[in-house]
Amino acid sequence: MTDRLLIEESAVNAAAPGAEALPPAAPPPEAPARSQWRDIWRQFRSHRGAMVALVMFVAIILFVTVGPLVWTIEPTFVDIRARNQGFSAAHPLGTDQLGRDLLARLMAGGQVSLAVGLTAMAIALSLGSLIGISSGYFRRLDAPLMRLTELFLALPLLPLLLLMVTLFREPLGKAMGPAGGTFLLIVGAIGVTSWMQTARIVRGEVLGLKEREFILAAKSIGTPAPRMILRHVLPNVVSPIVVAATLGIATAIITESALSFLGLGFPPDFPTWGRLLYDAVDQMQMYPWRVVLPGLLISLTVLSVNYIGDGLRDAMDPRIRKR
């Protein structure tokens, strides 16, 4: 036994210098794949919470996109004989006060809510980062852009939305149909009114970053501003942006439901998670599931996006990892 092991070991040892001596036939297979993104993904996978959240988020997306192809009941079909039913084979999650299938409504509602949440978040994020970075990096733009931010912060959201809906609902609805027009209007309205926090946080980060040695070094070798921003500044402020994004999705979903509740959102026959939640509040005591289910889906979406964001931040920023 001992002999064999020794031989083997020596054989391995012997092989190594020989291999080194050989000219490389091909570059080592890992080398090109060891990119920054693969690194991030490897780091991300080690974050257990983020992985669970990712699975959850993909599951929710599949539920609202693939689900309606499998479960084909119309979400707006009123079956008055089957109203207020509990869980059954015909209606796995029961029915509402008009006999509409709750499972189908949750799927259809999720499509709208997620689309609104993600799009509004994307708009708010791009606007916020753009303004935050410009005002942090270019001293001349700082004062006017920050005053603009304060102006938006001081605007009362609801009257502004009221005005936007009154002015643009009909022309947009005519151009794109009632649902498309409302979608654009809501997403635009939420995006335009929720970028300010991101902008302020990003500006703060950029101001701190500007004094760091590596930025000074990059500057001293004459890196032009656009390249500086894309290459050196943006990757370093990604973590606050990601955190703002996760919170933004939640706010957008909730704002959409508040708008629908005021009659400014989607037409009433368009289910959204927020609307399902509001509609069920009256009967909360008798049919708690009707409140719990949409509420749960909203919370799960927000939580999973939050955890994904957390994992991404850790993966992308080695300095604060495991803190």
């Binding site: 707006t76 079909f77 009123v78 008055i80 109203r83 207020n84 006060q97 008009l98 509409r100 009154t166 009909e170 022309p171 005519k174 009632p178 509740f261 005021l262 009659g263 400014l264 037409p267 009433p268 026959d269 509609d279 009256d282 009967q283 005591q285 008798m286």
Partner: protein, 571 residues
Amino acid sequence: MKLKTLMSGAAATAAFAAAMAPAAFAARGADGQVNVIMWQAPSTMNPYLSAGTKDIIASSIALEPLASFTTEGTIEPRLAAELPTLENGGIAKDLKSVTWKLKPGIKWADGSPFTAEDVAFTAAYCMDPSGGCAQLAKFEGVEKVEAVDELTVKITFIAPRPDPFSAFVGAQSPVLQKAQFADCTGEKAPTCTQQNFNPIGTGPFKVVEFRTNDTITFEANPEYRDPEKPAFARLVVKGGGDAAAAARSVLETGEFDYAWNTQLAPDVIAGMEAAGKGKNLAAFGSLVERIHVNLTDASSDLPEDERSTAKHPHPILTDANVRKALSMAIDRQLLTEIGYGQAGKPTCNLVPAPAAWASDNTECLTQDIEGAKALLDQAGWVPGGDGIREKDGKRLKLVFQTSVNAVRQDFQALIKQWWSEIGVETELKTVDPSVFFGGDAGSPDTFQKFYADIEMYANNFEGNNPEPYLARQTCDKIPGPDNQWQGENTSRYCDPEFDRLIGEMTQIVDPAERGAMGRKLNDMLTRDSNAVIPLVYRGTASAVSNTLGGVKLNAWDSELWNVADWHRIKQ
């Protein structure tokens, strides 16, 4: 009797006590305290300074008018000895004045006598041009009110008035004490806090303590004309909370005896009533939930000030068959059951009461989808490729708007489905209630502007005279840019025959004849033209404890109109 025996048969006892109570417990103040919750808290006790229902109800506990509306919508004398009629000479032959005889011997809560001077003073108080009286509409067309003698009041009108029962009829225009309010007329009216919060009245209770928007404490009025009433020594009105909490405090926890305005979903109410502590009662006045059909074109292709005006008749809805089919496809019974439960009745009438005015129009109560389809086929509307009917290249597609309200959104979903069954496509739209009913001429979303094809809301009329209410549907009451979009003929209904009959009606005095004319006008608007499609006759709901007796809910007058008769049912 032993208490135990009584407890064992609580339900039977309650029924027995309710029947026997007035005789059994007739002694002033014998029944202790009664607690009333009004979730919209009263903010004043003077109804002339507030048009809010909550304030009118609270003030009706202490202040009284000359006559009250009964639960049926008829009138009964209260401080008056009898109702003025043509026969007893109370109503003048030329219909230009009415003379009220007051009950003798009535005293204010401070012991001073109640006289015709007080009535004349109250009229002057409200009609003072420098004061903003909230009930001025009650005195519209009144030229003067004078005290003929101690117990006689004469009200003179500017023009002949076939229905003179407006001023001093109902809780909105009670009589104030001249001695107390003499220094509070005109501009000084709102500054008299002490008087407005603690008015001296002739009613069964008097105010002891008034805390604005919070609690009002009343005590039995020692000078009340019936020595055996009220049965309660104290009455406490508590404000705050919401409709659901108020209903719960009566029906589930039993903390309160009476909760005002508990309009909640039928199954929510049923769940609370299951606790067995009380009942949710409904009273029916004249409130009707209805659909208005826009007879003019609201298309956004038209110039802003020509949309929804008579210049452009509606391309689809001017076809009477379409309107009839829309009405036939609706199951009013089901709408009522889902939306209002006990607090609603299906109806085909715009004027559902008083009895003399209510048409026997019941044809629409049965849903007839097949009939509606056949009617549309006949009228040349044939289903297109996607099942939506078309005629001459016009798609049968309608925009249906209403205010944001859970029940109305359920109604919209149901009606949309029924209409889709007969091949009508419906696009739903909701508007914030404060905008929808706000009447702002600058907003495109008011119910008067009606930038949609179909709209749904509820409305009622004041008092028991539907004539002014019907008169709102004449051609000249069509909202439009020239009258700042005011006016309530939202359907844009315009029939010269209707206008002629309304004119005729102002000359009729006989109640039966007026009723017959009213029924005819109602049928013209609903059954014959379907310009208005009535859905549900709605009541007002209030929760009453099983231990509280004598409550007769009244939708025509203040809900607490007969608070003097309330008593405790011993269990």
